[in-house]
């Protein structure tokens, strides 16, 4: 019950401060890329290099250039990789968002619960640009846009809800203790390599491991993205994934609200 009240309070803060949230998200994006000579191109260069490295290791190295389901490995990979960049940002920067925007907590009256939201929004905005570039690459390879492309919007909403809740949860805890922040940062590679971004989870032999990996939100997001672009499947055609994602999202929201409720009053004193 109390959790529900806090959730309503959080949502109210978001509605009341919606203009400021978008403003802050915008200035967060601008701040990230202004002040360097190449400016905006970094938003593309950095992920491009990461993609190249993984593509080289897997295409040239491990897989010897075999395509997956008739799709070139490069195409198959980027549809998991691009959403991952948003997730990675949420894990690293999202977790430290309250620390980063300390002055909003300590110097002016501002609803702390909305800080992770605008940081998450700023990551998503940059990521959507990347997603567009990716779609252009797909089309250039000869893919025809169809009705399944619309499902990408749903993927983004699901991603945003889960990882914004996560950011609230972890940035509240990280504000209390830098140990937690370090723990999160060291867990990021595990979350990445134990997911279906670079390889097909469906080809893992052990049924138990396959089931486990289907609880990793990164796997589900990558799979759903590929279902929209490559396999042409709606989310209800993969009910296990859909069910798992809903369950972990609900759990994440509860954890986020709990952390907010528990720590909201302490954070201005500790930070």
């Amino acid at each position: 019950m109390e959790i529900l009240n806090t959730l309503v309070e959080l949502l109210n803060d978001h509605i009341r401060y919606r203009r400021q949230i978008f403003k802050l998200a915008k200035s967060d994006v601008i701040k990230k890329y202004s002040g360097s000579a190449l400016g905006w191109s970094w938003a593309v260069i950095r992920p491009a290099i990461t993609i190249f490295v993984y593509w080289f290791a897997f295409q040239i190295g491990v897989r010897r250039g075999r395509p997956i389901n008739g799709y070139p490995y490069f195409l198959w990979m980027i549809s998991g990789m691009v959403p991952w960049f948003y997730i990675r940002d949420s894990l690293y920067t999202g977790s430290s968002s309250i620390r980063k925007y300390k002055y909003l907590v300590k110097k002016i009256k501002y609803p702390v619960g909305t800080i992770p939201t605008f940081v998450s929004l700023s990551h998503l905005a940059v990521n959507i640009v990347l997603q567009f570039i990716m779609l252009v690459i797909y089309i250039a390879y000869g893919d025809r846009p169809d009705i399944y492309y619309l499902q990408i919007i749903l993927v983004n909403i699901g991603m945003f809800v889960f990882w914004t809740s996560w950011s609230l949860f972890s940035s509240m805890l990280s504000a209390m203790s830098s140990d937690f922040l370090n723990f999160v940062k060291s867990a990021v590679p595990a979350l990445f390599w134990l997911s279906g971004v670079l390889y097909q989870v469906s080809r893992i032999r052990s049924g138990f491991l396959r089931k486990c990996l289907l609880w990793n939100p990164v796997t589900i997001t990558a799979n759903t993205y590929r279902n929209s672009l490559i396999y042409k499947k709606w989310i209800w055609e993969t009910p296990t994934e859909m069910r798992n994602y809903i369950i972990i999202t609900v759990i994440m929201i509860i954890l986020a609200v709990w952390a907010y409720r528990r720590l909201k009053k302490d954070i201005p004193d500790v930070l």
Partner: protein, 272 residues
């Protein structure tokens, strides 16, 4: 809430602020999950109650650590009281410390928009007051430079300019007037007088300088160790405060002298 006290701007009822100190960050983190881990508690404010009427100009006096800043932060809504109740009636504009919540990466002008929008002003309203703020802050062309390049005096000027120009109903100033040169100080003084006299705002001022307090305020509250020990018109409050400080300093001196004497005695005894 009762409608009788319509003319009350700030009301505190049995407000207590307790800080919990833990041995280190790890213990603090554990305490989030386990209720049986207890830290050392210390009260920054204990059981404080008072009302401030609309249009009053109040000075908060007290030594370092008396709880003045904690109190202002709670009135501003930046921190929360551990127990008790604070009710505020009116738009609070606060100048806490010098840097006062600027985003260092944004320019001065962008910060104006940002801060004003946090006070729920629309873009059009901000555009109307922007020239006033720029002029008041005397920043000239620096207004379009990022705030991180500003000196502390420039930041304070900008902060002050924003806070007095966004049409506050309750203005809170914490020591910020102590920077800036004489002419800027004079301008601030004039502006505050104007706000108080023409717009009937409530003004809360924290300072160590009794001279400044006397200039602005009509009522003085003296605090010591988180408690209010004196509340009256400003002249008596200043007398009380000066008296208190003198006594305390004397007591300290005496203590020191006594210690030294004891040490000397001990030495003599050893030699003797």
């Amino acid at each position: 809430m009762s409608n009788l006290d319509n003319d009350i701007a700030i009301s505190l009822k049995n407000v207590t602020k307790t800080y919990t100190l833990y041995k280190n960050d790890r213990v603090r983190f554990k305490a989030i999950f386990f209720k049986n881990i207890k830290g050392k508690k210390s009260n920054a404010i204990s059981d404080l109650s008072f009302d401030i009427k609309k249009g009053e100009m109040v000075a908060l006096l007290g030594r370092n650590g008396a709880g003045k800043s904690t109190l202002l932060k709670m009135i501003t809504g930046v921190t929360y009281p551990t127990s008790g109740e604070i009710s505020i009636d009116g738009r609070v504009s606060a100048l806490l410390e010098l840097t006062a919540g600027f985003d260092g990466e944004l320019s001065g002008r962008e910060n104006i928009y940002f801060r004003a929008s946090l006070m729920s002003m629309t873009n059009r309203e901000i555009k109307d007051i922007e020239p006033d703020i720029v002029e008041f802050s005397e920043l000239g062309e620096y207004i379009d430079q990022p705030v991180r390049t500003y000196s502390s005096g420039m930041k304070a000027r900008l902060g002050f300019a924003i806070n007095v120009n966004i049409d506050p109903e309750i203005l809170i100033v914490d020591e910020a007037l102590s920077v800036g040169d004489q002419s800027f100080k004079k301008k601030c003084t004039a502006k505050i007088h104007e706000l108080v006299e023409d717009k009937n705002i409530t003004f809360l001022f924290v300072t160590h300088s009794t001279k400044m307090a006397a200039e602005f305020c009509t009522r003085g509250i003296v605090m010591k160790k988180g408690k209010m020990i004196f509340d009256s018109d400003i002249e008596s409050a200043i007398d009380f405060y000066d008296d208190m400080i003198e006594k305390e300093d004397e007591a300290k001196k005496k203590k020191k002298a006594k210690k030294r004497e004891e040490r000397l005695k001990a030495k003599k005894e050893v030699i003797g």
